[in-house]
Amino acid sequence: MPTNNSETSRRFVFPKWSNLLRPALAVLMIGGPLYLTALAWYGGSPKTLDIGYAPVQPVPYSHALHAGKLGLDCRYCHSSVESAAFAAVPPTQTCMNCHAKVRANSEKLALVRESYATGMPIPWVKVHDLPDYVYFNHSAHVRRGVGCVECHGRVDRMEVVSQVETLSMAWCLDCHRNPTPRLRPPEFVTQMDWTPGEDPAALGQRLRQERNINPSTDCYTCHR
């Protein structure tokens, strides 16, 4: 501390570097909202929140084994998919079609046997869950030749099913505006590894004309 008691030395003087505070404040006022917006946009995006959701199921059912290795058609279990809006999770009876005889004493299947004996449903966890204000219709898509794999990914390779697409509105609209690259002949809808023998866009264009596929982008197509 200086020992002389002059007026000047007692007065507080902002140090020279404090002049930087004014531009710094401007940077903060512009950069702060930008930062928060970017954070919300990136963190709140369906790509962050929805893709990769892979809940633990009550029974460790492997699609990779059943749909992949054993080659079961999707419709063996999800039999309502062609005729109903909802691709139903099968009743326990469907599991027991085989598991009454195959792996009939497996520890992993204890819950299935219990459900079959008591009639209580197996509490499967829904993976692809659209908001309740969306009225998606499976049969409308499957029968027009939109393959399962387009929305659900390679389920036949998944030990545990996870969501691979955002299922967001923008994603739906992408295809509703231009469905041609995602169309296939309806007999191949469940075939996960199907590849068109030609340019997918050209094939899609042809299928679209043949079957008169003109997906609507009106609000009430999906929201009622």
Binding site: G52, Y53, S79, Q93, M96, C98, K101, M120, P131, S162
Partner: protein, 214 residues
């Protein structure tokens, strides 16, 4: 500028990137937890959707199982050949109660490949992948399906095959609840087609296509 302010600013700048790093990691990873829904927008409504839960009932099914004796809309109410595969005298019918045409066969092929081929194989030889795996497990509970191409199955009237699909036999569960009668008949027609194809001779091939055979 004091050193500590410089340090604080550097730390702040680095820390401000951390949320992005965490989000980037979350993007690539799988998560088994319930998803965050920052903006609900009535995404979850107080209504019951197919296969949703209703705690009011002991089994928590919002969709109530049909009362015994209830008849589903579109159910064929018929105890004749079409619905049972049996004639009035209880014998299996030998003639199809539906018109057999190309459309029926194609439908039958599609349904057969979905519901039957896992065990019976794509040609009906009894070598489906599920059957093969069940055999390989050697649990002693599996009876492999009969081939369709032996005399035993070839000699069966169509009503018998229809009845087997409906009610099952040995290992085979009843598929009556999974496959509607018209689809069952389509499958029977396709099984007949498979049987013919597996015991075909060169005379069954149209003359103009025989040259293409090796």
């Amino acid at each position: 500028m004091p050193r500590w302010i410089v340090y604080a600013l550097v730390i702040l700048a680095v820390a401000s990137l951390l949320p992005f790093a965490f989000i980037a990691r979350a993007r690539g990873a799988k998560a088994d937890r319930t998803r965050l829904r920052p903006i609900q927008n009535m995404g979850t409504q107080q209504k019951y959707l197919p296969q949703s839960e209703n705690p009011l009932f002991a089994d928590s099914r919002a969709m109530r199982p049909a009362v015994e004796g209830a008849v589903r809309r579109g159910t064929v109410i018929d105890d004749g050949a079409f619905a049972r595969g049996r004639a009035a005298d209880g014998q299996f019918v030998a003639e199809f109660p539906v018109a057999v045409n190309r459309a029926l066969l194609l439908r039958g092929q599609e349904r057969y490949n979905i519901y039957c081929s896992p065990c019976h194989g794509l040609t009906g030889a009894g070598d489906g992948l599920v059957s093969r795996r069940a055999d390989a497990l050697q649990e002693g509970t599996w009876v492999p399906p009969l081939t369709f191409h032996g005399d035993q199955v070839r000699g069966r009237p169509v009503g018998h095959i229809f009845n087997t699909i409906t009610h099952g036999i040995r290992n085979m569960p009843a598929y009556g609840s999974q496959i509607d009668p018209d689809e069952r008949w389509a499958i029977v027609a396709y099984v007949r087609a498979l049987q013919r194809s597996q015991s075909a001779t060169v005379t069954d091939v149209p003359p103009d296509l025989r040259a293409g055979l090796r």
